[in-house]
């Protein structure tokens, strides 16, 4: 018999990662004749997301997938589903640890590892350039409060001193996953610091915003490293303006979430942290990867 799977997404339409994710999710569930999907969007509003959780519970879906707007605020709502006997799968961005008891699995990228990989990419490049002992960098992080953002920053900040102990991270400001906001943040960094050798951004959408600011100010030679390789990031890499990123596909993300839910429902064993792989991508190896569709 068919499974009814509900999903409440974070904020469709805010960037193309999330939009592409939604489309991919719908496509994947349509392709599977055993699955019927209810797709909801919280529009970034935690109150609306909690209401959607309640609606899905009330509609008695078989499983709920949640892409949290706030990794802590949704825990009680997740507990409610748990109590109602509905398995919950968290996607893309995990909820806080307090809520782990109430979810079956997290499906998504390993964002701590992503952060460390970005640190490695940046450090290797500095070593190539021979500036690993003096380089100064700034960080533009994702939406505050968002587990993905927090984990990427943590992974990056923890790993960097291990590989490049003399590189200094001079300042971190959030760019909210938003290209225009990061551009503004970067403009201010450029005025404030004469010497910036590298920029780490929580995703490429923001990284490209920062790149635009640097180009407009005529500041060259800055090494840009991001995460979630957007097509704009890929193109900038082709042009040689952007050094590297992490290859992460929203299609993989969506399909992995759906598959995890199906596995949970059909009694297949799934790991609690069900990561899909997200490799490094730089100007050097980008030919091995196709251009992202989003």
């Amino acid at each position: 018999e068919s499974m009814k799977i509900g999903i409440t997404q974070n904020n469709v339409g805010v960037d193309s990662y999330q939009t592409t994710y939604e489309k991919a999710f719908i496509a994947a569930s349509d392709a599977n004749s055993n699955v019927e999907a209810v797709v909801l969007d919280a529009g970034g509003d935690v109150a609306r997301q909690i209401a959607q959780m309640e609606d899905l519970i009330q509609q008695e879906v078989d499983a709920i997938i949640i892409w949290p707007t706030n990794g802590e605020a949704v825990i009680p709502a997740v507990r409610k589903a748990h109590k109602a006997g509905i398995p919950v799968i968290v996607t893309n961005s995990n909820i806080a640890e307090q809520g782990f008891d109430f979810v079956k699995s997290f499906s998504g990228p390993d964002n701590i590892t992503q952060g460390s990989r970005s640190a490695e990419i940046m450090c290797d490049k500095f070593k190539d350039m021979g500036i690993e002992n003096e380089a100064k960098i700034v960080q533009i992080s994702g939406q505050p409060g968002y587990t993905t953002a927090i984990e990427r920053a943590k992974g990056f900040e923890d790993r960097l001193p291990e590989v490049c102990p003399n590189v200094t991270l001079v300042e971190t400001q959030p760019g909210d996953w938003n290209r225009e906001k990061s551009q503004k943040v970067m403009e201010a960094f450029l005025v404030k610091y004469d010497d910036i050798d590298g920029v780490y951004s929580g995703d490429d959408n923001m990284g490209v915003g920062a790149l635009n600011a640097a180009k407009a100010a005529g500041r060259e030679g800055i090494i840009f490293v991001g995460a979630t390789n957007f097509s704009v990031g890929y193109e900038a890499m082709e042009r040689g303006e952007y050094w590297g990123s992490i290859y992460q596909s929203p299609v993989d993300d969506a399909e992995a979430a759906l598959k995890t839910a199906i596995d949970v429902l059909s009694g297949t064993e799934v790991p609690f942290l069900n990561y899909f792989d997200t490799p490094k991508i730089t100007q050097d190896n980008m030919a091995e990867y196709s251009k992202p569709v989003f």
Partner: protein
């Protein structure tokens, strides 16, 4: 019983409260960080204020005519997304006028509702804020819009090139400001905008077609929004659907800071430009001093209240309100 004495230095200061506040800021920030007055920095501030600034010019007309426009932010997102999409579909030469036409249609729709049907502008433009956002998402399918060939397009000139050593966005801002400044100050139409906002009934009694004036103000606002969208799109050659989100309130804040009254009938383009620059410099200055952007919120709040208070106090001749 006469208005309190506004002559002399004190009076001048009170009347020019905005300029004085502006000067104090500049001095303060310059002491805190000598880079503040560096030509590069000034140019940078003006350039990044240009988008907000162009929008504020149009909203100035709307506000002087006695109405509000809260839809400019989401309309700007629409303009940006549309022109970027059309750029690759039909080429920049056609994309730009087509985008202007579409945005002007939205402006005309609002102008019709507020001008001719006399619906409340606050609610109409609030509704349009949401509706246009939906329209943008429908148009783009929610995806970021990016120009495929970013290197080879002349479209980038509006946001990225210089002319005579001055960035084009600044030149566009200056151009639109001068033209609209002259329209407002020197033409019969400008005079009518003041009359309609100052006393709509008296304007009607003077044979002015109020609905038409209000309608035209919204068209001008839409024109400015389209121009802002053009600069934005050209500057980054790609955009999210939410690029203009929240700008409506910043724009309004700039216009009010410039001294336009929300009741209509007063304000000038020059003062709005000052309002825009104040916001830009506060933001930049606080960042330079190392304070976070949100400190700017608090500072802007205090400045808005003080500036408007000074303004109404000067008009009624008493500092405190007579309300019991």
């Amino acid at each position: 019983m006469r208005p309190f004495n506004l002559s002399g230095i004190g009076g001048f200061l009170a009347k020019q409260g905005i300029l004085v506040a502006f000067a104090l800021f500049i001095i303060g920030f310059t002491i805190a960080n000598e880079r503040f007055l560096a030509p590069d920095n000034i140019m940078g501030v003006v350039r990044s204020s240009a988008i907000l600034g162009v929008m504020a010019l149009g909203v100035t007309f709307v506000v002087i005519s006695g109405n509000l426009d809260l839809s400019v932010g989401s309309m700007m997102s629409f303009a940006t997304i549309v022109v970027l999409d059309l750029h690759d579909q039909i080429g920049p030469a056609l994309a730009i006028p087509s985008m202007y036409a579409m945005v002007l249609c939205l402006g005309a729709f609002i102008g019709f509702l507020v001008g001719y049907l006399k619906l409340n502008s606050l609610i109409v433009t609030l509704g349009m804020l949401s509706a246009i956002h939906g329209l943008t998402l429908t148009y783009s399918g929610g995806k970021n819009m990016d120009i495929a060939d970013k290197e080879g397009t002349w479209f980038s000139m509006f946001g990225q090139s210089d002319a005579l050593g001055i960035p084009i966005p600044i030149l566009l801002f200056a151009l639109v400001a001068s033209v609209l400044g002259i329209v407002l100050a020197k033409t019969p139409f400008g005079r009518k905008v003041y009359a309609v906002g100052g006393n709509g009934t008296a304007a009607t009694f003077s044979g002015i077609q109020r609905a038409r004036v209000v309608f035209t103000c919204y068209l001008m606002s839409a024109f400015c929004v389209a121009t802002a969208g053009l600069i934005q799109a050209s500057r980054s050659l790609g955009s999210q659907n939410t690029v203009g989100q929240g700008l409506e309130l910043e724009v309004l804040a700039a216009v009010i800071l410039g001294g336009a009254s929300l009741l209509g009938g007063s304000g000038t383009i020059f003062k709005t430009v000052i309002g825009v620059l104040i916001l830009g410099f506060i933001q930049n200055g606080l960042l330079l001093v190392g304070l976070q952007f949100y400190v700017q919120y608090v500072v802007t709040w205090i400045i808005i209240i003080l500036a408007v208070w000074l303004d109404v106090a000067a008009k009624r001749g008493k500092l405190w309100s007579p309300i019991a």
